[in-house]
Structure formats: structure tokens, C-alpha cells
């Protein structure tokens, strides 16, 4: 079965510093991995996805993620954090085969960016 794990409940970073939000995955078949962000009182917004190809995926709002097959990781990164990046971040993996529309979400990581 597919699953993702986000080992950190919370990440604190100072504005202007680089940030990393961690995600590891366990899949059967090809890993189709996603990052979503949830701002307070808002729904989930899509940031980026890895399907195949280049291991470094660029997404919205200056975020990028690095797919590492040997470490089964898909960490979210940003070179310079903004206070407005403070939000809840979810890693997700989709199911394989005919169930590809079923997503499995991580537990979420709260990112706090301090001025």
C-alpha cells in the first residue's frame, strides 16, 4: 500500500533563511508525489508534483522539491523563506493502477516563518 510520512510536526525558520519540509514515501510501483499547502481557513492548494523525469521539481511560490529514489524522499524546499509561507504543508502520494485518483496524505507539517 502507498503511504507518506512527514516526520516533523512543526518547522521553525527565520525569514530569509532556506527551509526544508521533509517527506518520505513507501509505494508499490511508480511514485507519483505531490505537495499541497493549506493556509488558515483555506482549502488545499497544489504546489508541485513529481511524476517522472528531473529529480528537482519546481512549483508555485518559489517552492521546489527534490525526489530521491534511493532515500525514498521528496523533501520540499525554498531558498529564502517568507513570513507569508507560514502554513500547513501536506505531502501526498497517489495510489497505483486503476485507483490512481485515490490520494494518501501525510500528517502535515506546520511551517512557522518568523520575521
Amino acid at each position: 500500500a502507498q503511504s507518506v510520512a512527514q516526520p516533523e510536526d512543526q518547522v521553525n525558520v527565520a525569514e530569509g533563511n532556506p527551509l526544508t519540509v521533509k517527506c518520505t514515501y513507501s509505494v508499490s510501483g511508480n511514485p507519483y508525489l505531490f505537495w499541497y499547502v493549506q493556509y488558515p481557513n483555506r482549502g488545499l492548494q497544489f504546489l508541485l508534483k513529481y511524476i517522472t523525469g528531473d529529480n528537482l521539481v519546481k512549483g508555485s511560490y518559489g517552492f521546489e522539491a527534490e525526489f530521491n529514489k534511493s532515500q525514498t524522499s521528496f523533501h520540499l524546499k525554498k531558498p529564502s523563506a517568507l513570513v507569508s509561507d507560514s502554513a500547513l504543508y501536506f505531502c501526498a502520494v497517489r495510489d497505483s493502477g486503476d485507483n490512481f485518483n485515490k490520494f494518501y496524505f501525510g500528517s502535515g507539517t506546520k511551517l512557522n516563518v518568523k520575521p
Binding site: R42, F90, N101, G108
Partner: protein
């Protein structure tokens, strides 16, 4: 990407009552999904709603508690029946993709508080 709206955006309800949440999309989609996000938790899939057929429920969710309608390709409703405080959550609808590389997009969510 499609524009997804949900009504109501939030509600406070009394124990034992029912609430129907609407999800409207600005384009036709085959598969729609309903998720629940309990306070401080990740997203859990409730059911898949296909137009013209019965919804398919995930383990732990039943039709009597969460009846779903899907009258056409742009609209779905989720009813939370006989509510208890444990039903206090954010409920989100999402759109399925046509292929396994498609992104799944989410509505803004309905924040439900049951007293």
C-alpha cells in the same frame, strides 16, 4: 485548473441535526471526492462520487451517516447526518483526474462545528 466552490464555507450546528454541503465545479468532471480533515489531523477520504452511480465509501464511512448525491457532472453534495461533536471537521471536495499524472484539486472546504 477548474474552479471549485463549496457552500457553506462554515457552519455551527446542534447535535442531532444534519447539514448538506454543496460542491460546484465550473467544468464537467467524471470523478469527485469528499474528504474529512478533523482538527489537527490530515485528510481522510470519505467517498468517491461518480455521476450516475452510487458513491463508493472508504472503510469507516457509511452511506447512512454521509449520504452523497451526484446529480450531474458539475455538482455534488455531502450530507453529514445526525451530527455529534466528533463530526466537527473541515470537509473538502476534490476533483479526480483523467490520467495518473493529473493533479487533484480541492475546494476551499467547509468548516463544521457541532455543539
Amino acid at each position: 485548473s477548474a474552479v471549485i466552490s463549496q457552500k457553506p464555507s462554515r457552519d455551527i450546528c446542534q447535535r442531532g441535526t444534519s447539514l448538506t454541503i454543496q460542491c460546484q465545479v465550473d467544468s464537467q468532471v467524471t470523478m469527485m471526492f469528499w474528504y474529512r480533515q478533523q482538527p489537527g489531523q490530515s485528510l481522510t477520504l470519505i467517498a468517491t462520487a461518480n455521476q450516475g452511480s452510487e458513491a463508493t465509501y472508504e472503510s469507516g464511512f457509511v452511506i447512512d451517516k454521509f449520504p452523497i448525491s451526484r446529480p450531474n457532472l458539475t455538482f455534488s453534495t455531502l450530507t453529514v447526518s445526525n451530527m455529534s461533536p466528533e463530526d466537527s471537521s473541515i470537509y473538502l471536495c476534490s476533483l479526480g483526474g483523467v490520467t495518473s499524472t493529473d493533479t487533484q484539486y480541492f475546494g476551499p472546504g467547509t468548516r463544521l462545528t457541532v455543539l
